[in-house]
């Protein structure tokens, strides 16, 4: 494999053709400029990846029409041809010299245009990326009632722009990395230099560089590859579609990863505290936001506790409920032929099916499935006496609770844990649930996200710095004068501390 491009343009074209043997969408446009001394040029790009109007007008068009190039003389030919083309011949904004084959091929593959010049050992890479892409739209998964409505797209360049617009600071670093031996996906590491902890940044970069895989198709793949504990059901990296959420995190001293072709940015470190935050919290008034935060925490318990508790209480400890309630519960279960645990598993399975079907099929059919599943099956199951009405209510509540957590992955973690709790409750009743809670707590305590305790701030780190003000509740913005401490930011002060309360 050749390393440097040769002086002979024909050889170069031959080489490119050889490299892209199977790619019929490669276009090599040969042109000639110069009236006195014609110079052979080749414009190489892949059809569809480039912005073709741009190439036609600002690359080929400018080369052919520029007067300066037409009047080349012999003297200037050898030394200045490259310079002249760069200085006079190209109208495009982004150009770069390159004499090595590897970057040139990469550039062609990423949608740039390469200009090869006869008798010159250097080619020019012209930034012409374009082609089909989604325009900026509202985020699909994180909608807000109030707040910015732009969401990330699949184009990395748009995404970094959206973040840049919110952080007009030279200290915002955007470090580009390539991940994937074949896919060569661009990954941008974003952080604010004088806020983010160096150790954290270095750890992130190290892990990205350590990744060895042929292709990254979405940020979630990268997420799995750089996570601390990939066996855990809980995500240790947060993801978001919202540029405002990314910017807010950067201001908190966290690091964001933007992956090309993925509208989801990754945020590290993630903790239980941050996974319970939604960007909407900062746009609504603080009392409502605080209330919602607390309900989210309750909601996270409601995902996995009601069902197992029902099993434990009805099958093991009927003594723990008030007398009146227990008699009516017994009456409602009188026709149910299954033990509570089987009943619960039956309904949970149905619910998971309905959920899966509903997500796979969007639009009107999805709604129909929801109605059929939720209303008709539930109603019919109770009528038929297969499940007790209370069970339906419990399943419904815990399913609704899964949508309360801002992070889908996090609530999915609880959903998975729920089945473990069912088994424990089914075999050991309340004691099993307690053991489950202990294990869950232990698991949370053992998890780390890039060296930061996952259970922060509830595990006793960062309380001094007042993290709890922005996790358990959301204090008025006037009171959040410090950045959260869990990221160990270099610069902790966020606003002037107001002396008068």
């Amino acid at each position: 494999m050749l390393k440097n491009i040769s002086k002979n343009i024909a050889a170069n074209i031959q080489y490119i053709k050889e490299e892209f043997k199977g790619s019929d969408d490669l276009i090599i446009r040969n042109i000639e400029v110069g009236d006195i001394l014609p110079i052979k040029l080749a414009v190489v790009f892949i059809d569809g990846l480039i912005n073709s109007e741009y190439v036609a007008e600002y690359v080929i068009g400018s080369l052919l029409s520029e007067e300066e190039l037409k009047s080349f003389t012999v003297e200037g030919y050898k030394t200045t041809i490259l310079e002249s083309i760069k200085e006079h011949g190209l109208y495009s904004t982004e150009i770069k010299d390159e004499s090595q084959w590897e970057p040139i091929i990469d550039a062609i593959l990423s949608g740039d245009t390469v200009l090869l010049i006869d008798n010159s050992p250097t080619g020019i890479i012209i930034g012409t990326r374009g082609g089909p892409g989604r325009s900026v739209g509202e985020p699909q998964t994180e909608t807000v009632i109030r707040g910015p409505r732009d969401g990330f797209t699949e184009t990395l360049k748009h995404n970094t722009t959206m973040v840049r617009r919110r952080i007009r600071d030279t200290r915002l670093n955007v470090r580009m990395h390539k991940v994937g031996r074949r896919s060569k996906t661009s990954v941008a590491v974003l952080y604010i230099d004088d806020i983010a902890d160096e150790k954290l940044v270095n750890e992130v970069i190290k892990r990205i560089e350590d990744v060895d895989i042929d292709a990254i198709l979405d940020s979630s793949m990268l997420e799995n590859l750089i996570e601390d504990n990939y066996l855990s059901p809980f995500p240790q990296i947060e993801n978001t579609e919202r540029p405002d959420a990314v910017s807010a995190s950067l201001y908190e001293g966290r690091v964001a990863l933007l992956v090309d072709n993925s509208p989801f940015a990754l945020l590290v470190p993630a903790t239980i505290g941050t996974l319970m935050q939604s960007s909407e919290d900062y746009y609504t008034r603080w009392i409502e936001a605080s209330l919602v935060r607390i309900f989210r925490i309750i909601g996270s318990f409601l995902i996995f506790l009601p069902g197992p508790l029902y099993v434990a209480l009805t099958a093991y400890h009927p003594g723990l409920l008030p007398t009146k309630l227990i008699y009516f519960l017994a009456a409602s279960r009188i026709n149910v032929p299954f033990p509570a645990i089987i009943e619960a598993f039956l309904m949970e399975t149905t619910m998971e099916l309905i959920r899966e079907a509903g997500t796979r099929i969007s639009g009107p059919i999805g709604t129909t499935i929801g109605i059929v599943g939720g209303l008709i099956i539930g109603q019919a199951a109770v009528e038929a006496g297969i499940v007790s009405p209370l069970m339906i209510i419990i399943i419904a509540v815990s399913t609704i609770a899964t949508f309360v957590l801002p992070s889908y992955d996090f609530s999915a973690g609880f959903r998975i844990v729920k089945f473990g709790f069912y088994i424990l409750a089914g075999f050991l009743g309340l004691y099993g649930i307690t053991i489950g809670m202990i294990l869950l707590m232990g698991h949370f305590a053992k998890l780390n996200s890039f060296g930061i305790p996952y259970s922060s701030p509830y595990s006793g780190l960062g309380i001094d710095e007042g993290d709890i003000k922005d996790t358990l509740v959301k204090a008025p913005i006037q009171r959040l004068w410090l950045r959260p401490g869990f990221t160990h930011p270099k610069n902790i002060q966020r606003m002037r501390r107001d002396k008068k309360k």
Binding site: T314, A315, R333, I423, G429
Partner: protein, 379 residues
Amino acid sequence: MKKTILILLILTLIFTTACWDMIELEDRLLPYTVAIDLSREDTEEADEKELFICFSYPNINALGKNPTQEDLTYIINSNADSIFEATSEISSRVHNPVFLKHLNVVVMSEEVFSNEKYVRQVLDGLKRDFIINKMIHLLVTKESAHELLLKKLESKRQETIEGLLSTLLLNEQKSTSFTPIRLNEFIQYMDHQRVAIVPLAIPEPEIALEGGGLFKDYEFIGYIEKEDNRNIAILTNKSNNEDIDIEYDGSKISLQLLEIKAKKKLVKNQEVLTIKYNVEMDAQIHQYIIDPSKKIDSTKVLDDIEKKASEVLKEDFATTLEKLQGELNADTLGILEYLYKFHPKIYKEVEGDWDSIFPYINIDLDVKVNIRRRGLSEY
């Protein structure tokens, strides 16, 4: 790898052995009342008789949205030495195990509770059990206890899901004709003042609770009337709401007593042990008479009524006290406990022979009724 093996080990351990304690809710008998009589079967010694234990439990088939059966309550009984033994004896006859956590009333018949040994046995059984609620109510009845339960079945009108007796016991009472007592309280009374009153259930003409049976050191010593019970309740701050009728100016006045506060105090430096009772309460006139000549419009009239009411109450209290100090010799007012808590020195002197001291102590009563409201009438 080690972890996975361990986890697999636990899981197989759990799965291969069954779930030992799982009994579905609808597969349990959940009795709420237990009646204890003496067994009808003859034995040689009266003391060694077995107990005749009778549970009443709700028929869950008759509850809920689409009941399939009508009878709300079933009754099942057994001859056994203890409640615990009875449950295991019963479970050989019914298809479901008995679960006693929701048991909330124990009724003992006279033949049981008049024998101290049985009382101690039954109460210990209730106390020692892991499952049984320690807030279980105690009741006594003069007749047979299980007939009380049967009688309860007949009066369907009053039947509620938790059982008539416990509803009656928990009812917010207008007047304290009985004072509910729980197992825990009973034992506490036995320790503190050695005397406790257990409400008495009367089956005729309709099931009602009135008065109570007096226990001293777990030994039954006699019954008290509902008036006595009310007076004791007032003097021990157990009552908040009473009705009394007094005769005034030739007509009857109905008074509702509220905010009743009784304070006892030791009068020091007396020859005889003297306890002074200060009973103060608010009152409200509920009924008088429509007669323009009898207006309640001056403080004097009110003062008169107050005085009259106080006298009536004081007399009432005195009668009860006489009874308690006389024939019953039972310190239900908790005077010994009061001495123990606030005058430990005197307590140490009298503790040993309280039984012979209590009948002779001097109890001073000072009753004050304050009429605050006269209702919606000028007359």
